[in-house]
Every structure is written in C-alpha cells, then in structure tokens.
C-alpha cells in the first residue's frame, strides 16, 4: 500500500516506513538510544530527500524520548539540574545547527555533509564500543569479580571554572562541560536528525562521570526538548518536516520499542553492546561505501525555483 508524503512530494510504501520506524523503536528499546542514527540513513537510502528525512526524523525522536522519559521520570532517574544545564547548550547548538543546515542546503552540499558526518560519527562510536565490550569480555574471563574502581577519575577538564553541584549525579563540575556537550549534541541533532543519545550517553558516563542510573533518563530529558526545537526550527525555516512520514515512523516505533526492551532484558549487557557496535559499524561501512563508489549517474538536481 502506497501513501503520498505531502512534503517529500512522492509516494512510498506504508509498510516499509512502518517497518523502518519499528526497527528504530526496537533499537531504542534494546539499547536505550533513539535509533535515529539508523533510521535517517535508511530513509535517505529508500529515496526520501535528505532534508526531509532529517527534519521528519527529529519529529519522530520527540515521540521516542517522551515514552522512555515517562518510565525514567517515574523511577526518579532524571537529574533535572544536569538536564537543564545540558539543555541550555542543546538549544543554542540545535538553533545554530539548523542555520548551518539551511546554508548547506542552499549551496547543495547537505547530502554530502550528512553522509560524511554519519560515517565519522558512527565509525568512531562503533569502534569505541567494540573495544570497550571486547575489553570487558577479556577482563571478565581473567578476573570474574574484578576490583572496585574509583567512582570517577579526574581529568584536566575538571579544573574549568564556574563549578556547579549536581546532587543527583554526585558531581561537582564546571557547568561549561555539560553546556559544551549539550551544544555539540544539539548541532548533531539538527544536521543529522538524530536524538544524539548514542553520543550523549557514553559522553555523560565517560566525560562527565555521571552514574549510569541517571544517564538514560537525563539524556532523554535533554533530547526531548532539543528534538522539539529542531522540529520547530526546521518547520519554520526549511518547511521540511513531513508529518505523514513522522506519523508512520512513530507508530512503528511505538510497536518496536517494547519488543526491544523485552529482548534486552534477556541478554547480558556486554553482548548487547557488542551487537550495537556491530550494527553501528555496519551502517557506517554502508555509508562510506556509498561515498566511495562511482555513482550510477554523477548528476542530480538541486531545489526547483519557480519564478513568478
């Protein structure tokens, strides 16, 4: 069954889009990340214009993060103070990101930038995760119980000024850190249409040193508002949010997410992270392949301008 997407201006199979949303939801449920990093490249791959894919995916991320935030909030796993500081950076970053996006679209380089950023981002995250899970597996084999480490290590970044206390995260760090992190994630969110959870979560653990219990909830909190900001700005400046497309993705995600969390409950964490690493690397490799291989036709058309 085909449906006409009014903003993408083409018809597309309903079940294909629904399945794409479902796959993103499955990932969201399994790994606690949005799944946008997989859905956006796939949308582009099936022929949705990148600008529409990114903006509509941002719209889908809202739905995704609000359903997981529901759970996390009730369990008290949201560090509101940290979330708000992150959000301050996130709002500035996503607004700047949409401006950059509009400019790149105007000069005809947006597709290329999206692809390159995905390759860089996904391959580095994927490799980091792969190494990390291999190391954990290795350690466990040699020393099953493992010594208890320090709560967190102190790096140079902890000497920055304007320190703030984050009680729930048991941290006393400079506010510049979360603001900078939020800013970077905001830019990613605007240009790539991802929530950014797959970057934000490791960054919160390894760079900020937050306890893992509050990481997912807090990142969901920040992503919700940043995605809303991106959706709004994309709708106003580029008019590229396709609500019909977003609706199908959301419906798929709603079905996929609980299945994902059920699968996750049965698998050990290390295996999950290794699976995730493989998946992320596979998407990165595919995108890189697309950039390197000789295209079928070197020509494409930019936006059509009707002169009145």
């Amino acid at each position: 069954m085909e449906i006409y997407l009014p903003i993408a201006e083409q018809s597309m199979n309903v079940f294909l889009l629904f399945a794409l949303g479902g796959a993103a939801g499955l990932l969201a449920g399994m790994f606690g990340v949005g799944g946008g990093f997989l859905a956006t490249p796939l949308l582009i791959f099936v022929g949705i214009p990148p600008a529409v894919a990114v903006a509509s995916q941002a719209n889908q991320v809202i739905a995704n993060s609000v359903s997981s935030l529901q759970v996390q909030w009730r369990r008290g796993n949201v560090d509101l103070r940290m979330g708000l500081v992150l959000l301050l950076g996130g709002m500035i970053g996503s607004s700047a990101g949409v401006t950059v996006f509009t400019w790149l679209k105007a000069i005809g380089q947006i597709d290329f930038v999206i692809a390159v950023m995905y390759v860089i981002l996904l391959s580095s995250i994927g490799l980091l995760m792969a190494f990390e899970s291999l190391r954990t597996l290795w350690k466990r084999r040699r020393n099953p119980t493992g010594p208890r480490g320090k709560l967190h290590t102190h790096y140079l970044v902890h000497r920055l000024p304007w320190k703030m206390r984050f009680y729930k995260s048991k941290l006393y760090i400079s506010a510049f850190l979360p603001i900078g992190l939020g800013f970077a994630i905001g830019i990613l969110s605007a240009i790539l249409g991802v929530g950014g959870g797959f970057v934000l979560v490791p960054a919160m653990i390894y760079i900020l040193g937050m306890p893992t219990t509050v990481v997912i909830g807090t990142s969901n909190f920040q992503i919700l508002f940043v995605a809303a900001n991106v959706t709004f700005l994309q709708a106003v400046t580029n008019g590229t949010v396709d609500v019909v497309l977003a609706l199908l993705l959301i419906l798929g995600g709603v079905v996929g997410a609980p299945i994902g969390s059920r699968i996750a409950a049965r698998l050990p964490g290390v295996v999950l992270r290794a699976l995730m690493a493989v998946l992320v690397l596979a998407v990165a490799a595919e995108l890189l392949f697309e950039l390197l291989r000789t295209p079928l036709s070197p020509y494409s058309l930019g936006p059509r301008e009707v002169l009145r």
Binding site: G108, V243, R293, S297
Partner: protein, 277 residues
Amino acid sequence: MRGLLLLLALAIGTSAFIAPAWGQRADQPLPAPSLRAPSDTALPPSVPDGGTKPELIVDLSSPRVSITSAFQGESLLLFGMFDPPGEIVVVVQGPPARETVLRKERFLGLWLNTGRMRFDDVPAYYFIAASAPLQRLLARGGGEILSLEDRLSTIRPVRQRTPAQMAEFRQGLVEVKRREDLYPANFGQVTVQAGRLFRADLPFPSRLPEGVYDVRTYLLRDGKIVAAVSRPLPVGKVGFSAELAGWAVAEGPLYGVGAIAMALALGWLGGAVMRRL
C-alpha cells in the same frame, strides 16, 4: 497521570471531530495552479476559434491531475477526433522553472557535488506522442512542435558557460529527469481508429511537480500544422495532502507546533499503552 491521559484522549477526540472538515474542503479549486487556468470543472472539449467547422476536437479523461494521499502517479487518456487526412502530435509540458544541475566529482576519493549549473525556463515535465514516427513528421519543419532535444536547446544557463560545459550539464539534466520519469524516454503512441478518432495515454509519475501543465494537440498535413488545440491541465495536491503542504508553507510555526504536539501525544500514549500489554 490519569488526568493527563484524559486530557490527551480529549485532544485526540477533538482533532477527530475537526478532521472531516478537511475532507469537505478537498473539493475547493486548487490554490495556485488554478490562477492561470480557467475554472476547470466544466471545461468543454476544446475547439479552436475561427473556423466554423472544427478540424480537431480534443478532450482529456480528467480535467486535472489530483495528488491525493493515495497518489502514485497517474495515466491520463487524451482522446479526440480530426478531419482526415493528417497526423496527430501531442506535446505535454510542465510549468517552466529554474533548475540547478549538480555534478559529483571525485575529491580525495569521495564523490561530492563540485560542479553546478543553473538553467532557466526548464519544463518540469515533457512528453511527446505522435501517430507516426516523429522524425518523419518533423523532418519538414514541424513549426512550433519541438522534440525534447530541440526544446532543451532553448533553455538558457543563468550564467554563461562554454558550449561544451553547457552540453554536458544539459545531458545531465535529461538523465535525472529521465530517471524520475519526468521526461519519458520513448515517444508516446497516438492511436488512430476509423481514420478520424485518436487516443493517447499521458503517463505522469509519482514525483510530479505542481503547476499548470500545457497539453497541446496538433493536426499535421504534409508536415504543416493545420490545426492546434491547447488545454491547460492543472496538477496539484488536493484534500489532506494539500491541506498539510499548505500549512507547512503558509503557517510554518503553527505546523511545527502541531508536529511536536502530535509526536508528544503519540509517544506518551504509545508508551502508556504498550507498557500495559
């Protein structure tokens, strides 16, 4: 928590109530395209002015191409009658616009858009059909009837370039348009029956730009145009699609807020429902 859910249910109930209003407004004339087209609902079969006895009568199976939520491209039937002898040629042109042709080149091993050229007056769509091999018909001039190649040789680049570059990019433009079935590669066939009745299928793909298309039918005798009939064919979104696209353009902020509200409501509801299953 319960209160919030109730509120949401209410909100969705109201929107379901409003929804039929969208459907009713679907039958209104198309906003932009209908500007240049006469009221297209009751257009009579076009008859050329002047002659008392029309030599060529043409009609279409539908007065417009409606892009609805279920649109996947459409084939329109053009049919009519002419006074023999003669041959029939049909030319369908989409509205002209400025197109930017981008060309990928290898840069540090990566393929990236480095070349670009903009052309004015590029038809969004171009289809030509004839009752006899077109080359033969146009060999003796053909007047204003242009094959795709001839039509495209009239488009001008926005900034002057070398002829070689222009030819390359023009070829690229045709390549992309062919891929999207906007410049159908083959000449269409006009079928003539009983010596005076004719018909042709006009294929429109799913990715069809909006605007008023021009459907021109010519009657040729000895390579000369003896009669021509021009019909405007509005192509536009109707119903829910038109409503949404209209909002997205005219009411960006409202549309954005609506999109956010939809995602929030569905995400919340979905989360609450699926957890209970």
